[in-house]
Symmetry: C4
């Protein structure tokens, strides 16, 4: 059986009990009820929360800017295309309602032809092209043109702002290693995971916080507790390559003496929070992830991900960030 | 009679006097005169200040950007529409002043017809459509076109910037429970209110400050004092659901031993300040509100707002954020 | 003779000498040579520095964005207009160089007429109006159109960005009272000045730093020293009205025992630095100003600037921010 | 032989060994392997990192916004021009594929003529000019126009956002003196370099961190160590002129007792990190640079760079920032 650090004669050492206050501080804002009752993970791998929020009249809760800025590029472009087509269809219908003489020079003679003429005239107006082969005739058509021009300009203004917002949004695209490991660390063991910056922009002052959450207490009245893990170093000034975040499992660690089985059985989850400064716009960025007990490889370590030419180190290979290799833990008999 | 915590034999315990210095620190910037003389609330429920500022030549005090960015969407769109119509009317008049031959190809023969032609030609120019059926003839009309094109482009540039600014402005739309409560809290009582994030974007590092302001001293020379209330926890790292902010009314609390009647009579007001970080753009956001004594329900607690499917917790229902239910306070005989 | 606080028997008490280290810390970055040799003020009333910086190849030192964003609106609009006219003149010349047939449909027959046609055709192209009465003919003219369209779009994009940048730039428009005063303060005296927020947007967490700079030491070897003045309160959470910043002249103050004449003679200057958070975009803002000794009224205080209706306080009148009234100082015999 | 401070009888004093912990803290995030194995400099003079990062599917690692915002203006404009031409070529080809009658009014009769017509019609459509001499005929051509108009508007929106982003990006253009010096400083010596603000916008709260990195230990097992150098002052409130950053080489300094030869031989590198606040937008800015041992002039000091008119100081001359002059060090016999 593999234990995390079984070298001293207390197979299941009790973890130092957090005081009521610090426990309250450390539930991170999930609230007592949620953290006790949610049986799956609190935080998903992509950093989103595993809880739902309902209610409120939709027009209040809905934050269109947030939606439009965070949706995928594919959805965004499809939405823009859809709005473009629908707007032109609406104005085309309105031009058709103005009667036959409203679009001077329109060649269409059939209903289909006139409909297409109206649609393409609308396109030329919304986009402010105005070839002039077709031009509006009469008060109704001219008024529609005035409205459509304003709609076109405001819509374009919106699209400009949204595109800029989408581009300039500070996102830390951090790659987290697929698994965390319990690896040898100096004379003892350590809980470790590996992160790297996926983007070409530099990150600064990267700071990590790791909180372990697990069920504790007697089987009859187990409650989920939160413990912040002390890190070997919690902040790096630069982040040009990768960083293996290390929590040394010494006697002060809440992991001290726990077995892999106990981690699994107590539904342990390691919540990871990163903050950093993105160089491009000196913006603060955030990243979150979590490791469930079953995503922690006990008795493994991260494989070297450096690239070499001969003896010289020339860089790192981000594709190898998830690579781990077996490592025997001190005191382990496996 | 309901008192907040009458368990010990001092029905109207005097509140620990703040030192001159800390009192000065805690009037929050309202100034001595204002906080003494204002008889209604200092802070409105929506977080605006209950004081007026006048004077200054208008062109200096007026901050058009602030106005244009913070006005309602309805007003904003009406303003844009109004400016669009007025600008076209002005240029239409100018085109009319250029004489009959200035708009080549304009079909209008009557005054009304010529006016409409000028207006719609202006639209086609301001929006840079330029169908060309009507085109400018002569120096005056062409110069007007050059000016209108520039005005159109600059106005459109402004609208683009304003739309983006309105959208990207960091606003924490926090819902505050309609009432605060004095509820049972562990062995004692607590002053509590409930907040939730109304928007779909996440907030982080939400921090609350609560200051109680009330008239103190002898009836003849009562002065308004400010006391910051100690909170059970003043900051949460995440804010996925709701948060009940709790000030425990222990012996150190300025609320200790006060009755509901005393709160009302001394014109107590609880000023709430929230700061947080909005995830979308990592921006700091602020929210403010206040509870007057008559908005504090003594002997009540917040009702559960969780949604359940069978045993499982599936989310919260924001519509129930204001729900309170009676709760008997320790030591209360009501 | 008026002294700032002559109540104890030491007419010219020596100011506590700052240590070499703190002095170094407190020259604020002006550098030893500059602060010793500049005989006028270090900081102008509007917060700009009173020192010049020359050299560097112009293309490196010149920061066009900073210029374009900080110049006055009048200059900005004139610049935009100028660039618009010049660009059209350049393209008009180019179209003329393409020969007579290049602008199909142009009515001008004289040189002046052809020049005007080319200019207005350029306007219609740069602004992407394109009426079409005049249209390009041949490779040269069409290529020019392609270039001008791109120039027009990029120029317009630039103007859009600049307008937004100018509007959204965080500026704290703080009004500083024209004079500072040495006024009665509790039992002693205080150095005071009054500030108010000129704009309609709210400022938060306003923080003030006041540094006194004056020549000290023997007449033969006087050097300029810097002393940070302790404030009665250096930060206010809100800033809805005005704020009188107060430095109490107690025994620890570097002003203690100094006469008005000594302040003048030692070329004293009070440097004021403000930082705050602007509510509209949660942006940090800065403001600076300074008071020379001759701008300090000794034996005066700030007049009330509140507006009243009957007994009730209804607001403040910003026009009265500079109003001071005589006040006799404790211990003063004037 | 010139030593940095040889006044006491220990020619090669050992530097105080950093503890394992602080050493870990001070490798700045380069990681142990990289900092041990890289034989050239860690940080280039322009602040970029001297390590490579490879791997990852390109579409993930590539951050187009970062590229487009940080590339040179020349490359940016060439890219815009290239995309403009290529897009028009693509649409021109598509219009040609629609057949001969698709572009009504196009004068070209030869293949070359028709191709040019299609290209320039595309320009007039993409830029939304629409002269109308050539207009689309039929479903295919009209649909292409609708698509091209949308592409044109979105592309223009993108260009607008990018131009603004490029302009408003916070960049501290700090000039670092080409060389650092070991100069006389009070009674001892100091490691110094000179910086100035190249731009016309003001910087505030400029803060410097200097870390010395060199190989230490026995020749057989030398490892690179990092030591943060204590500065005479690490922060200035204003930065109107220049700043000579000074590390006094006293007994606590890791440079104490080292010779110039030892610095060279142990591959010493001085990493410099600056942070500041840019006034224009109150944005945080960063600057980095480094000095290798061979870029440190031992026994030199920075020449005066002030401009004078007669006796009066009128400014500084940034062209002289790199000027150094010989200076004999205390205790040096050279």
């Amino acid at each position: 059986m593999t234990t995390l650090r079984p070298s001293k004669p207390h197979p299941t050492v009790s973890i130092q009990p957090p005081t009521a206050d610090s426990a309250a501080q450390e539930d991170l804002g999930f609230g007592t009820k949620v953290s006790q009752q949610i049986r799956t993970r609190l935080l998903n791998r992509d950093g989103s929360f595993n809880v739902a929020r309902k209610g409120l009249a939709l027009q209040r809760a809905w934050n269109p800017f947030h939606e439009l800025v965070t949706m995928s590029w594919t959805r965004f472009y499809l939405l823009v295309l859809g709005i473009y087509v629908v707007t032109n269809l609406l104005f085309a219908s309105a031009f058709l309602l103005c009667g036959e003489g409203a679009l001077l020079g329109a060649p269409g003679r059939t209903t289909a032809g006139r409909t297409l003429d109206a649609f393409f005239f609308s396109v030329q107006t919304l986009a402010t092209i105005g070839y002039g082969r077709i031009s509006p005739e009469g008060l109704a058509a001219n008024t529609l043109v005035a409205i459509e021009a304003l709609v076109g300009m405001m819509g374009f203004a919106l699209a400009t702002g949204l595109l800029f917002a989408r581009f300039s949004r500070p996102i830390a695209q951090i790659i987290f290693s697929r698994q965390a490991v319990i690896a040898p660390y100096r004379e003892i063991t350590g809980f470790m995971f590996r992160i790297a910056n996926e983007r070409t922009s530099q990150l600064f002052e990267v700071e990590a916080t790791v909180v372990m959450s697990r069920l504790e207490g007697e089987p009859s009245e187990r409650v989920r507790k939160f413990n912040t893990l002390t890190l070997e170093r919690s902040k790096v000034m630069f982040f040009p390559l990768h960083w293996i975040v290390v929590h040394p499992i010494n006697e002060a660690s809440p992991l001290f003496g726990l077995t892999a089985e106990q981690l699994l059985e107590s539904e342990a989850e390691f919540l990871v929070l990163l903050t950093a400064v993105d160089e491009t716009f000196s913006q603060a960025v955030h990243a979150r992830s979590s490791y469930k007990a079953e995503e922690v490889a006990v008795g493994a370590r991260f494989a070297d991900m450096f690239q070499r030419e001969g003896e010289a180190l020339t860089g790192i290979d981000l594709r190898r960030i998830h690579d781990i290799e077996p490592a025997s833990l001190p005191g382990s008999t496996s």
